[in-house]
């Protein structure tokens, strides 16, 4: 019912009326901007686009609800009416789409939800956590999708790193051969290469995190302006940084080991191409 009225057409009425005598409503801030409404204006509200049975209301004020990610990309209009006014407008009485309860201190909400469910009232009862989990399921799906894309992107980066390390080590074969001839042991050479790989991975990690932070700022700026919302679309937090650093170092080390595999096993003459 609320959604029905949310999408009812609003008409800005310039006819001077005694506004104080009219019933009042609140308009959501984005709706007010779109329709050019402000407190004190009058609007006609109807249950369908024929405007049959339309009623005139006074805009009491403009409210700013918390941003709703499910409305990104859509632009529904929202208004809030007193319940009796909505019932009179829609002709539907004694109906509600949801009822919110506040439990007494010390009472567990999920116990109350369970009891209500057992009462056979024809309603489903959810505590706040379960309701939030159900309504955010779509975003969990998108979260898993992002994670999968991240893995694919990581694979591309890992192959890139491996290719570079193999080339780098391959080009240094003669140099390694010379070092082996003067007595430097394989283990020492391997640790040197591994250390170089870790330094490259760490440097890449720092640059990558910096680039990601900058990209987040740009993404948030662009999309907050585009969708007129304060939602945060991209964010680099401590967990992301820790995971990124750990993955970079592990992949760097793995790339170095893969590159060193043939080099460390070869004898000195093979390193010189003999």
């Amino acid at each position: 019912m609320r959604r029905l009225v949310c999408l009812a057409l609003l008409a800005f009425a310039a006819v001077p009326v005694h506004a104080a005598a009219l019933p009042s409503l609140l308009v959501e801030d984005r709706t007010a901007r779109r329709l050019g409404l402000a407190a004190g204006d009058t609007v006609d509200v109807a249950r369908d686009a024929s405007f049959a049975g339309a009623r005139r209301f006074r805009v009491e004020g403009v409210y700013a609800p918390p941003p709703d990610p499910t409305e990104i990309g859509r632009a529904p209009a929202h208004v809030r009416l007193h319940l009796p006014d909505l019932e009179a407008l829609t002709g539907e009485h004694d109906r509600a789409t949801r009822i919110a309860l506040r439990v007494a201190p010390g009472v567990a909400p999920d116990d109350v939800a369970r009891e209500i469910g057992q009462m056979n009232l024809g309603v489903s009862a959810y505590d706040a956590q379960r309701a939030a989990a159900q309504s955010t399921e779509t975003f969990h799906v998108i979260d898993r999708f992002h994670f999968a894309i991240g893995l694919v992107t990581l694979a591309a980066g890992a192959v890139f790193l491996l290719a570079l390390m193999v080339l780098q080590v391959d080009e240094s074969r003669r140099e390694f051969g010379a070092l082996r001839l003067i007595g430097i042991r394989r283990g020492t050479l391997a640790r040197a290469v591994a250390m170089a790989a870790l330094v490259i991975a760490a440097a890449g990690c720092v640059i990558g995190i910096g680039f990601a932070a900058l990209a987040s700022v740009v993404v948030n700026h662009v999309y907050q302006a585009k969708y007129q919302t304060t939602l945060v679309f991209a964010r680099v937090d401590a967990r992301d940084i820790v995971v990124t650093c750990a993955l970079s170092l592990v992949l760097g080390l793995a790339a170095a080991c893969a590159a060193l595999w043939r080099l460390v096993r070869a004898n000195v003459l093979e390193l010189f191409g003999r």
Binding site: L7, D48, N120, A156
Partner: protein, 413 residues
């Protein structure tokens, strides 16, 4: 000769070439997935809507089909007016509402909420194959199975496979229907009894969704509509009349409704799905950059390792332009060699990603996010080849401008 020299350079260092092909393949797979995602949902939705066979959809003003509880009042008068206006050869009204359904034997059950679809004979495109009998007046020979008839006081219904599974229903069984939980019905207003005529495959049903279809007037009664409301009108145009031009004309004559041709509906829906298109653009650009960096780096290292060879070719009379062409051909050859891997990997990963996204609640089972089209394939090939040409430009320039004598001298000393 260019092809021969390029081939020779690639096979001389198999490890380097293999790693480059692997890296470009993975980046190419990601690029293919993003080109598929960019238009996938729109393409998929378009195919399903085209399959329904309607050219126009008419909804309450400012809404999309079944987006809200808003209805079109006096739908019969509107339908008659639309037929008189011309341009349409078939108009059907559809009701979409929530109803509670339960098996006929369980008289104490509350029932489960289901999507109730009420259709007129011309609205038969909303569902496909029927096991059993079709609804009266909608039978176009697609039903297969025994003929079912409703007893007096019963209404004919079709159920989808999920309803049939949950209550173990077969054609000929009965269900109880109401607009509210069945156990809350007053004694003087019992549930409506529906005779299951058949089990239908309903288009755009979400996974796990319960759907019941019945004739339009019965659905209006069940939904409690008292002003001859309809949720949606679907229409076919007469041959030669374009739906794209007819839709605005209908909206001007009937301002209480919105009219959408197939293309207009897809454009409006794509605005709500713009997140995926933009995500695909950003990630697609990233994969192109990664592929370009990999190719550029590998080819540059390769050129630096054989400057002497290149200088020798120049000394033998091969022009700088042909040297540039040779280096660029190597980059393009690596990319072309990576294409089979990119497509194989991209299509496999797309299936996994598609399954992930389709797990979103309320999404029609018929829709796909990743749709492989010829356009997506050609876009991927074109972007990768262009990227390889661009990536090869710097090392090609490097190779072509090396001083011949100084380079040869450095090689031998």
């Amino acid at each position: 000769m260019i092809a021969f020299l390029a081939w020779r350079s690639l096979v001389r260092s198999r490890t380097r070439s293999a790693l480059t092909i692997l890296g470009v393949g993975v980046a190419g797979a990601l690029l293919l997935d993003m080109t598929m995602l960019a238009n996938g949902l729109q393409t998929s939705l378009g195919r399903v809507l085209e399959g329904m066979g309607y050219d126009l959809r008419l909804t309450p003003r400012g809404t999309l089909p079944f987006e809200t509880d808003a209805t079109i009042p006096d739908s019969g008068a509107l339908t008659a007016a639309l037929r008189r206006d011309g341009g349409l050869r078939e108009v059907a009204r559809v009701v979409g509402a929530t109803a509670f359904v339960a098996g006929a034997e369980d008289s104490h059950a509350a029932g489960s909420p289901a999507f109730l679809l009420g259709v007129e004979p011309a609205g038969r495109g909303v569902y496909r194959d029927v096991v059993g009998s079709d609804l009266p007046g909608l039978d176009i020979g697609r039903a297969r199975g025994a003929v079912v008839r409703a007893a007096p006081g019963e209404i004919p219904v079709l159920v989808n496979a999920e309803v049939a599974r949950q209550w173990h229903l077969r054609p000929g069984d009965r269900v109880r229907l109401a607009s509210r939980p069945l156990h809350t019905l007053p004694a003087d207003r019992p549930a409506v009894v529906g005779r299951v005529y058949g089990i239908a495959d309903v288009r755009l049903d979400a996974a796990g969704q319960l759907t019941v279809l019945c004739p339009f007037p019965d659905a209006q009664r069940l939904a409690g509509f008292t002003r001859d409301e309809a949720s949606l009108l679907v229409a076919r145009t007469v041959p030669g009349v374009g739906a794209d031009s007819l839709a605005p004309a209908i909206e001007r004559r009937h301002p209480e409704i919105s009219a959408y041709s197939l293309q207009q509906l897809l454009r409006t829906a794509s605005q709500q799905l713009s997140y995926f298109a933009q995500f695909a653009l950003v990630l697609g650009a990233t994969s192109v950059v990664v592929a370009a960096m990999l190719l550029g780096t590998i080819v540059t290292l390769s050129v630096r390792g054989r400057l002497g060879e290149i200088a020798t070719l120049r000394a033998l009379g091969i022009a700088a332009g042909r040297v540039r062409l040779l280096i660029t051909a190597e980059a393009v050859a690596l990319t072309v060699a990576a294409l089979p891997l990119a497509f194989a990997l991209g299509l496999s990963v797309a299936q996994v990603l598609d399954r992930l996204l389709k797990a979103a609640p309320g999404l029609p089972a018929d829709l796909h996010f990743f749709v492989f089209t010829a356009q997506a394939a050609w876009q991927t090939v074109a972007l990768l080849v262009t990227c390889s040409v661009v990536a090869g430009a710097y090392p090609a320039h490097l190779a072509a401008r090396q001083p011949i004598a100084a380079t040869l001298h450095a090689e031998v000393t």
